[in-house]
Amino acid sequence: MARNTFYSRLLTTIKEKYASIDELKSLTGFIGILILAAVVTPQFYLPQNITMLLGQVSVIAIAALGEAFVILSGSIDLSVGSIIGLANVVAAILIAQYNFSPYMALFSVMTIGGIIGLTNGIFVTKLRIPSFVVTLGTLTVVRGIAYIISGGLNIPVYNEEFLRLNEVLYGVPIIFWIYLIALVILTLFFEKTRLGLYVRATGSNELAVRNLGVDNSGVKNLAFVFSGVCSAIAGYVLGVRLGAGYPHSGLGYELDVIAAVVVGGVALTGGTGSLIATAIGAFIMTSILNIMVLAGIGGFMQYVVRGIILLVAALAMRRAGVFVK
C-alpha cells in the first residue's frame, strides 16, 4: 500500500516536472522522429544528409526565432515569408548591382526587416488592429514590393564572399553557425533579461502587465521588430543557399515558420514556450520533410503529412492544457 503511494507520488512528481519544462514535450517528439528515421530511412544519418539538413533548417529556424517572440507576446506575424522574400531580393540587388559588401547588405536588410516589424507593431499597439489582420496586409504589401523592385526577375549573385557563406565549417554549414549565434543571443535575452520576461508576461496576461505599470505596447513592438529582423536574416541566408535573389522566395514560409513554433510547444495564446523548444520544432518540421524525400514520398503527400503533424502537435498541447488560460 505504502509502496503504491510512493510510486503514485513519484509518477505525479515526474508528470508535473515534465509539464513544467517547455522543451521536454517537443524533444520527446523529435526523439520519436529520429527513431522513425532510423527504421524507415537509415540514410537520414549519413553525414552529407545531416549537413544538408542543417542548411535546410537554418532559414525556417532563424525566422521562427522572431516569430516565437511575437507569438509568446500574444500576437502573430504572418508577414515573415514576404520579409524573407524581400530581404532575399534586396540583398541580391545591393550586392550584385550596387557592389555592397555582404556585411553591409546584411545590415541593410536587417534594418528594412526591423522597420517593417515596427510598422506591424505600431498598427497593432497604437491603432489597435488585430495582428492577424495587420500582418496579413503587410504580407501582401511586402511581397508586392519584392516583385516591384526586382521587376519579377531573378537576380544572380556572383560575389565570392557572399557565396562562401554557403560553405561548411567544422562539418556544419556557416549559415547554421549564424543561426546558432542568433539562438544563443536571443535565448540569453529571452531567459535572462527583464524585457524577455515581459514578452512572456504580456502574452500570459496583458492586462495584468499593464496594470503593474509595464509598457506592454513597447514590449509588443519589440517582438515585432525582432520578428522582422530575424525574417530578414532568414531571407539573406536563403539568398546564400540559392546564390541569387528570387522575388517569389519565401512564399508560404509563414506557415512553415508558425508550424515550427507551434510544434515546438509555443502556445498560440501566448505566454508559454521557449526559443529552444522553437528550435526543436524547426528541426522536427525539417526532419519530417527530409525523411519523406528520402523515403520517396511525393510532394503532394508531403503537404498532407506536415498538416497532420501540426494537428497532432496541437492535440498534444491541448491535452497538456497549453491552450487553456
Binding site: R194, L197, R200, A201, S204, A208, V209, L212, G213, G271
Partner: protein
C-alpha cells in the same frame, strides 16, 4: 488618535457623458481597514483605480502621508507605496511565483535578472509573513484559486506598501479560501500599520473584517457606518435608497 495615511479630497471623474465620481473625499488611517460598499456602478472600483494610478481624476487631490501625490501610471502609485489586489488576481499564469511577485520590479545585476537574489528575498519574506506557498518555482497556473490570490497579495507586500487597495479580493474564492485571505490581510494591516481599502459585495464579510464602512451611491459617498453599529439589512437599505 491614529495618524492618517491617505486622504482623498474632492475627486471627480467622468467617462464621456457618464459621471462615475462626484466630489468624493475620504480619510484612511494607519492600521485601518476601510470598506467601501455600493451597488454596481456606484463608483467603488473607479475610486480605487484612481488611487492606484490606473485612471487620472478630472479634479480633486490625493495626499499620501499628508503630502500631495499625482500618479500618471500604476507604476507611479506602486513606487509611492500604493498597491492593489484585483478580483481576478492579475497574475501571469505562465510565469512562476517568483516571477509574478517581482513583475515590474525585478532585481537585476547588470543587464541580467538576478533570480537567485529574488528567490532569497522572497523566501525571507515568506518566513516573515508566515506565508504558505507550495513552491516559489511553480507556475502560477498550477496553484489553486486561494493560493493564486495569496500570491497576488504577496506581490503587493514585497516592497512594504503604505496603502493596500483590495478590489473584491475574495469574489473568485471558496468560503474557506476567502476566510484565509481576509484573516491574513486584516492581521497584516494591524501588525504592519498600513492602511487598507476594501471593496466587496459580501456584506457579512464587510462587517466582520472592516474597521469602518463607507456607502457609495451614484458616484458619491452617502453614509459612514461602524461595523459594530450596523447590519446587512441597513447597509442594503442605504445602498439602494
Amino acid at each position: 488618535m491614529v495618524e492618517e495615511i491617505l486622504r482623498v479630497e474632492g475627486i471627480s471623474k467622468s467617462f464621456g457623458a457618464i459621471k462615475a465620481l462626484s466630489d468624493v473625499s475620504l480619510i484612511l488611517h494607519k492600521g485601518e481597514l476601510l470598506a467601501i460598499i455600493g451597488d454596481n456602478g456606484a463608483g467603488k472600483s473607479t475610486l480605487l483605480k484612481i488611487i492606484a494610478g490606473v485612471y487620472s481624476p478630472d479634479s480633486g487631490k490625493i495626499f499620501l502621508e499628508k503630502k500631495e501625490v499625482k500618479f500618471k501610471s500604476p507604476m507611479d502609485a506602486r513606487k509611492a507605496g500604493i498597491e492593489m489586489v484585483f478580483q481576478d488576481f492579475m497574475l501571469c499564469p505562465d510565469l512562476n511565483v517568483t516571477q509574478n511577485v517581482f513583475l515590474g520590479r525585478e532585481i537585476v545585476s547588470g543587464e541580467f535578472l538576478n533570480y537567485k537574489l529574488m528567490k532569497k528575498i522572497l523566501k525571507e519574506k515568506l518566513k516573515d509573513l508566515k506565508f504558505d506557498i507550495p513552491s516559489i518555482e511553480k507556475k502560477v497556473r498550477f496553484l489553486s484559486g486561494g493560493q493564486q490570490q495569496m500570491v497576488a497579495i504577496l506581490r503587493t507586500l514585497m516592497f512594504d506598501p503604505k496603502v493596500l487597495l483590495l478590489d473584491e479580493p475574495t469574489a473568485n474564492l471558496s468560503a474557506g479560501a476567502s476566510e484565509q485571505v481576509m484573516n491574513f490581510v486584516k492581521q497584516l494591516i494591524k501588525t504592519k500599520m498600513i492602511g487598507g481599502i476594501y471593496v466587496a459585495h459580501d456584506l457579512n464579510a464587510i462587517i466582520r473584517y472592516s474597521d469602518r464602512i463607507l456607502v457609495m451611491r451614484s458616484g458619491r459617498i452617502i453614509a459612514e457606518k461602524m461595523p459594530e453599529e450596523t447590519n446587512p439589512v441597513e447597509l442594503v437599505r442605504l445602498m439602494r435608497l
